[in-house]
């Protein structure tokens, strides 16, 4: 009974930390401020672990802890409760968010030690944890949306943290606006869901409550495709998928630990979480799932190619994040929601580590982010180098690092689901990932140092507050995947088993929907069964083994190639640029000119429209011209007519008065 109450404090303690840090701000010393912020997240993590332990003690089918604070709104049949709920999926997300969040808080103590906005920074960071926990523990879609917007706000605040530089503030605005475009789709999807569902509900049922949505998924089947696609628009914004991924690379303007926490490990996975949470809806619409899978796969390869040519260390990692998020979407799209969440978790470990490692490098290089002037840091930053290598092997998918298990599982699900094309795209992107990560490592840690002597003198390993989180995350990047050790390798796929009740019920809904006469669902269920059978067949022939070995070899090939091209034969890359590859290189360096294309297609027309129609036409013309000046002109004209009567001539008044009375009397006399 304790854990129900704990649930609200998991969410509220970080808010308390944010409030104290935000309101007292400079009145707190840096020590107290940091202690408060880290303590709040630490407490939240410990409580998450406690609730998680309680969940493990329950029956697998009934693993759910709920804490209702009260009713938020109750308008007729529409009802929203302030409910926090933790099931298997929520537990995984809560542990990852608070756990990785705690490590990044600790790291920030060192990284932000000399910053003037120390207290403000930790206030934002705690506020972010609060919003993210609302997102993952909210018991209904409205609470999820509150968290969804909350993390967007925190992202905006933290990207523009150093707001005295215009570029940072612009990047913050870009992130916020692009996210808002996605949220618009999300909102419309929710409206559609609500209006469809409300007439079918009994009294007192919260319409957006996940269990209620779950139970009435059959009602939503006719609009499932539209709803899911609209929700997916929201997911493309938050989880940086084509076409709304453009904000994420620019989000690197914020402090590096923020990039690690928000723009790699947690917030950007919100879209994946949302899709996994609403899996029972998405399985009703094969079309929506196909779109999710296709967008995910294309994003994975698209972003991976851009990452090949970037020179800013954080930009490479940012595009790598976009690419990895594509994998997660791909997993959700082929119906392997648990694998998608598995990749969310492993990615949180190694991508947070990569960003924190790059932060350590940037810190050592006196805030230099261009890899072209780095190099040779291996000996100067041994801990950073060792942990960074662990993360690189993990993201490349080398056995037995965490990334191998999740990425291989995703590719396997794509293959076994019969989507050979999606598998091929994912496979290709995996090789590119290994290649560009090796390029990054070589340029940063190997060869001669290319920095100026000034900078070179100051290169130093980071303090313990920064290296300890690196080491912890490195260990997690190594062992974190083992909880998903697959069956065919003699493991138990424990992670998948843990999440199974959440997603198995989605399949049941599919079956339930079939009873309500939805043909597509029938087909889907049959497909799933066939796929399952096919998977079994493949399993027996050892295809799974073959694919796993091939993908590890592929990753190693990518790494070796990267090593060869950028270290052994450093001239190859230049030769490629000269020998006709310059066009490709420039295309990648400039990110396929997508920003420029959006600029030409949306921003400039939008600007012109604003200028000519909205400003000159509506504002200056209609509002200023017609409404403001027009009303004044009308009063003026009316007044100048009336002024003729106000001439001071008493006899004129008398005349008009007399004539008026005469007309009135005559009218009365003859009208009857």
């Amino acid at each position: 009974m304790q854990s129900e109450i704990l649930l609200r404090w998991i969410v509220l303690v970080p808010l308390l930390g944010a409030a104290l840090n935000g309101l007292l701000n400079r009145r707190l010393s840096k020590q107290i401020s940091g202690l408060l912020a880290c303590g709040a997240v630490g407490v939240s993590f410990v409580m998450s672990v406690l609730v998680f332990l309680r969940l493990t003690g329950m029956e697998p089918e009934s693993r759910l802890v709920q804490d209702t604070l009260g009713t938020w709104m109750h308008l007729g049949a529409f009802r929203v409760d302030l409910t926090f709920a933790m099931d298997q999926l929520g537990a995984v997300m809560a542990l990852v968010v608070t756990g990785v969040g705690f490590l990044i808080h600790i790291y920030s103590l060192g990284y932000m030690a000399h910053d003037d906005g120390f207290q403000r920074y930790f206030a934002y960071l705690n506020l972010f944890i609060f919003a993210m926990m609302t997102l993952v523990l909210g018991g209904n879609l409205i609470m999820l949306f509150v968290g969804w917007e909350g993390v967007g706000l925190c992202s905006y605040l933290l990207i523009g943290f150093w707001f005295n530089e215009d570029a940072n503030a612009s990047a913050g605005k870009k992130a916020f606006i692009v996210n808002r475009i996605g949220d618009f789709g999300f909102l419309i999807g929710m409206f559609l869901m609500g209006t469809t569902l409300l007439p079918h509900l009994g009294a007192g049922e919260g319409v957006f409550n996940f269990q209620v949505l779950h139970a009435h998924a059959g009602v939503l089947a006719p609009v499932a495709t539209a709803v899911c696609l609209l929700l997916f628009v929201g997911a493309t914004g938050k989880s940086a998928q084509i076409p709304l991924y453009i904000w994420l690379p620019d989000a690197m303007a914020g402090p590096t630990p923020v990039s690690a926490l928000i723009h790699a490990a947690t917030m950007v996975t919100a879209g994946v979480y949302m899709i996994a949470r609403l899996n029972f809806l998405f399985v009703l619409s094969p079309t929506a799932l196909a779109v999710v899978a296709a967008v995910g796969a294309v994003t994975a390869i698209f972003a991976a190619t851009i990452a090949l040519a970037q020179n800013d260390i954080k930009k490479v990692l940012a595009y790598s994040t976009v690419s990895q998020l594509g994998y997660m979407m791909l997993a959700c799209g082929v119906g392997a929601f648990s694998v998608g969440i598995f990749h969310v978790m492993t990615h949180a470990f190694f991508k947070a580590l990569l960003f924190l490692g790059s932060g350590s490098v940037i810190h050592a290089m006196s805030n230099e982010q261009d890899m072209r002037v780095m190099g040779g840091l291996r000996t100067r930053l041994p801990i950073t180098y060792a942990t960074f290598m662990a993360a690189t092997l993990a993201i490349a998918g080398v056995f037995p690092f965490a990334g191998f298990f999740s990425k291989d599982e995703i590719l396997w699900k794509a293959w076994s689901g019969g989507n050979t094309l999606l598998w091929a795209i994912g496979f290709l992107a995996a090789g590119l990932t290994a290649f560009y990560m090796m390029r990054l490592v070589v340029l940063t840690f190997f060869g001669e140092n290319r920095a100026s002597s000034e900078v070179r003198k100051h290169i130093h390993e980071s303090p313990a507050t920064m290296t300890v989180p690196l080491i912890v995350l490195a260990v997690l990047s190594l062992v974190g995947g083992w909880i998903g050790w697959p069956h065919f390798m003699g493991g138990g796929s424990w992670f998948e088993q843990w999440l199974e009740p959440v997603f198995a019920s989605g399949a049941q809904i599919g079956a339930h929907g079939a009873h309500t006469g939805v043909a597509t669902v029938d087909v889907l269920v049959q497909n799933a069964q066939m796929n399952h059978a096919a998977a079994e067949a493949l399993h027996e022939t050892g295809v799974e083994w073959t694919l796993a070995v091939v993908s590890v070899l592929w990753a190693v090939l990518g790494l070796v190639l990267g090593w060869f091209v950028y270290y052994k034969r450093a001239t190859i890359a230049d030769g490629f640029k000269k020998a006709g590859g310059g066009f490709v290189y420039r295309l990648l360096l400039n990110k396929y000119y997508v920003d420029e294309a959006y600029d030409a297609a949306f921003i400039r027309p939008g600007y012109r429209l604003s200028r000519s129609v909205l400003w000159k036409g509506v504002d200056a013309g209609l509002i200023d011209g017609v409404l403001v000046n027009g009303s004044a002109l009308a009063v003026y004209l009316f007044g100048s007519v009336l002024r003729l009567f106000q001439n001071g001539m008493i006899r004129f008044y008398a005349w008009t008065f007399t004539i008026g009375v005469a007309v009135f009397v005559l009218y009365l006399s003859f009208s009857s």
Binding site: Q646, N647, G648, M649, I650, R651, A654, W655, T658
Partner: protein, 101 residues
């Protein structure tokens, strides 16, 4: 010849028109005030005539009230006129146009 209601009404009408025309055409404020009194008087005649016709005292009450109104109006009006005359040395209303501004 018997004097009927019509006679009273015709008389009242003549008096009223005299007052009205006088008020409109004359420029002397004093005369204009006298014309106002004439119009009020015409109304009084009508009241009295109808009161007599219906044998109802209500008309007489109105006549008395009209006297009171006329008296106070004349008192205030004359006071204003005297004051205007002291300042302007004229009571010609065509010269008194300062209220226009």
């Amino acid at each position: 010849m018997e004097i009927t209601l019509t006679h009273y009404l015709v008389l009242a009408g003549l008096v009223f028109i005299t007052g009205m025309v006088g008020f409109v055409v004359r420029r002397n404020a004093l005369v204009m005030m006298m014309c106002i009194e004439l119009m009020l008087c015409a109304v009084n005649i009508v009241f009295a005539a109808f009161a007599r016709l219906h044998g109802d005292g209500g008309g007489h009450v109105f006549v008395l009230m009209n006297f009171a109104v006329a008296a106070s109006e004349a008192a205030i009006g004359l006071a204003i006129l005297v004051e205007i005359y002291r300042r302007r040395r004229t009571v010609n209303v065509d010269d008194l146009k300062t209220l226009m501004e």
